[in-house]
Symmetry: C2
Subunit: 460 residues, 2 copies
């Protein structure tokens, strides 16, 4: 029997034990944002380190300025095996409003939810259930001949309150945490029967612009006509950032943006995703992005320019015939592929300045610039994981994108220089951050089995 088959068999035999361990973890009230639960967070880290030691990891609780990290190492018997860094977080969201919970959020139970057996508890899905899928896979391997990859585990306790200790911790322990790539289990499946790997995250460039015109507010009766109006100038500039096809007009904006590989494009096209229903949920119906692109493409694979805020002149009740001295807007760009944040910020600023009357000026404030994360579609690790998941779930793995960023992925890339495979088994309807959070038993058990297959595939 090959190691993975033995590990899968071990997982299937010890389902009750795995659930019991998950329940023990879920009973710990590790709410990171509330100082009242500081000791519970420490206890949670201790519980995980102890469990990992029981499996055979060299595990320790590591202090930070905030809640502690858990770091654990285990070698594969195969010295040449690749080295993976697994990331999860043991802290959970607060439970309010408590009255909307059907039972105590920290008294996990199994219940039928829409015909599926699910674990109900705060953190069941986000992220204790998810991280335990990996721990259980490691347990199964280490009790049956050893891991196919060298494994380092990093569990964070501040993901739900800003991860403020994470960058410093990564930087301070770079050599210890360095690996060939990271595995992150904090994302969703496509649906309850279809696995997914998140391979692309859009980056974000956030600019604020303030247009200055006259040196004081003016009366539109006296000055309306000859005097520059900064709201008019700003509107005119912002109104020309998109063409009629919804494309961003800034010079060079699409440099570094690639078309999807044919197989991914075909997969997305075939997905049972109803763009109209997605928009319909929020009262909209017309996809506002680039003409000819699907809603999924517009969200996951295409860059945007959005105006997130604008203000100028009189904004109270009624009317005031004022020509204001200034007007301002907050403008952000979601970036993809190899778009360069600094170039996009510069192109925006140049565009604004090129469209100013000679007697007006523009002031700019940067509120951050981070590039997109994009796993090479052709990378062997992505292909191997995709195939392994397909074997487990019996259908093709969906390669998905995310319209927003996931900070840990950027930190791992920036601080350790490694790419992440984002593989998760949560579902859209898991009610994370909400009352009665749940994690399907099939997610938990299928997740653990998935990691067994993925670790084997990555080692080949």
């Amino acid at each position: 029997m090959v190691a993975s088959a033995a590990a899968l068999e071990a997982l299937d035999k010890d389902r009750d034990g795995a659930l019991k361990r998950l329940f023990a973890l879920l009973e710990i009230r590790s709410v990171s944002t509330d100082p009242a639960y500081k000791d519970e967070c420490a206890r949670c880290a201790g519980w995980l380190a102890e469990d990992l030691r029981l499996i055979g990891f060299d595990a320790s609780v590591r202090p930070t300025p905030g809640h502690p990290m858990v770091v654990a190492h285990a070698k594969s018997p195969n010295a040449d095996a690749p080295h993976v860094l697994f990331y999860g977080h043991y802290d959970v969201q607060p439970v309010d409003p408590l009255n909307l919970w059907e039972t105590d959020p920290f008294a996990p139970r199994i219940a039928d939810v829409n015909g599926e057996q699910a674990v109900i508890a705060r953190g069941a899905s986000d992220d204790k259930g998810q991280l335990m899928t990996f721990v259980e896979a490691c347990r199964a391997y280490m009790g049956n001949g050893g891991l196919p990859c060298h494994v380092t585990i990093l569990f964070e306790g501040e993901e739900e309150c800003g991860s403020s200790s994470l960058p410093g911790f990564l930087a301070a322990n770079r050599d210890e945490l360095k690996a060939d790539f990271a595995l992150v289990c904090d994302t969703n499946m496509w649906d309850a029967k279809t696995s997914a790997i998140t391979a692309m995250l859009r980056g974000l460039v956030f600019e604020e612009v303030i247009i200055h015109a006259a040196k004081r507010d003016l009366h539109s009766g006296l000055f309306g006509g000859p005097a520059a109006n900064p709201i008019r100038i700003l509107s005119n500039i912002l109104g020309r950032l998109h063409d009629k096809e919804g494309r961003v007009t800034l010079p060079g904006f699409y440099d570094g943006v690639s078309e999807l590989p044919d197989d991914i494009a075909a997969q997305w096209k075939a997905l049972p995703f109803d763009g109209a229903a997605y928009l319909g949920d929020v009262g909209l119906s017309v996809p506002a992005g680039e003409t000819g692109r699907s809603v999924l493409e517009q969200m996951w694979a295409r860059p945007t320019c959005e105006i997130n805020g604008i203000i100028g002149g009189y904004t109270g009740e009624g009317a005031k015939t004022v020509l204001p001295a200034q007007a301002s807007a907050k403008v952000s760009f979601r970036v993809v592929g190899k778009q360069e944040p600094a170039k996009i910020a510069a192109s925006f600023r140049d565009f604004v300045k090129a469209n100013l009357p000679a007697d007006c000026s523009a002031e700019f404030i940067s509120h951050g610039a981070s590039p997109a994360i994009q796993l090479p579609f052709a990378s062997p690790a992505l292909s191997a994981a995709r195939e392994a998941l397909a074997q487990e779930w019996g259908r093709d793995t969906v390669i998905v994108g995310s319209g927003g960023s996931i900070p840990i992925i950027g930190e791992l890339k920036r601080e350790l220089g490694i790419d992440s495979l984002m593989i998760g088994f949560a579902l859209e309807n898991d009610r994370i951050h909400s009352p009665n959070e749940k994690y399907n038993v099939s997610s938990f058990q299928g997740g653990a089995r998935s990691w067994v297959r993925v670790l084997e595939a990555l080692a080949k």
Copy 2:
């Protein structure tokens, strides 16, 4: 000797008496906005009615819900003479900051200001000095054979605090106040040696528009791309309200806008007005109105579209990746000539609606719509007054416009159906509403002589 020559001679002989009467009026603390001065306002109205009765007017103080009006009538011996309604206001602005006054604001005195003799007091220019120019002209006529026109006088006591009683008073006394046209003395000369008649006031159409998109605020990571952004839609609409030549693009916007008559255009072109200095005072330098139009034309004779306020999304410190549910703007139009306010509001609303995505909507709020006031340039009254003033001041009278509205002119047109000749003798540097308000003695004496000539000319 003709009547006007006798009246002019009488004015010149009684200069000291006229100043003494003006001083007595200026000593009354008729601050209309401060309830503490209610009795002073009533005393001021009484003083004026008494002075008019002394001259021979049938004068009375008329109560209103606020401060009283003064109404007075005097017939011309010539039964066929035209009938004029003269308007002025006896209330004054508050005096704060009192410490910036060189002497008591209600202890009028004559002083040298930049080489010119001037009366210094609150209300010296706005509007007690101005209204007394007309009273003195009437006094000079009525003591020397009678008025060339039938005269009704209306003095208001609430001009500086919103004129809230005026529309009702005009409507309730329509028959008594009806005249062939009105004379209003509350405007400026072109300069200390050049008289001016204000013949055009821009009207105002004020619209508020609210663009509604999604039914709640959205996260730009999840929805940026496919979801409509109301700020982007609003900016795009507002940014297209002007073309590259600064003209307003709304269909039919320029219907009813005429070019200036050649003589007025030539006069404005020849005026010693420095558009660059006018803009330079407020930190600007590039005329922002229609290309090819002078600053004076842009202010006085051309319609505008201005955005007076805009707000949407996140406008606090820092960044927030929100796609707001709505965005709104306050948009006003200064209108001229025969532009129809209702049509302009409708054209704006149609333009907004025509540029909305199908899943967004627009809500509109009207904050008022009033047409422009434009005296027919060829009207006999305007020509007569212009010529009479030119005779007095020894140089051509400038026909000027005003970029903003003067509410009384609109009320007289709306309630009584009569046009107004706006003839005033104040100067730009009279410091009205400010400490050390002044009225040049030459304005006061030349103003009274001007009215003698204007009344004679209007009677011809």
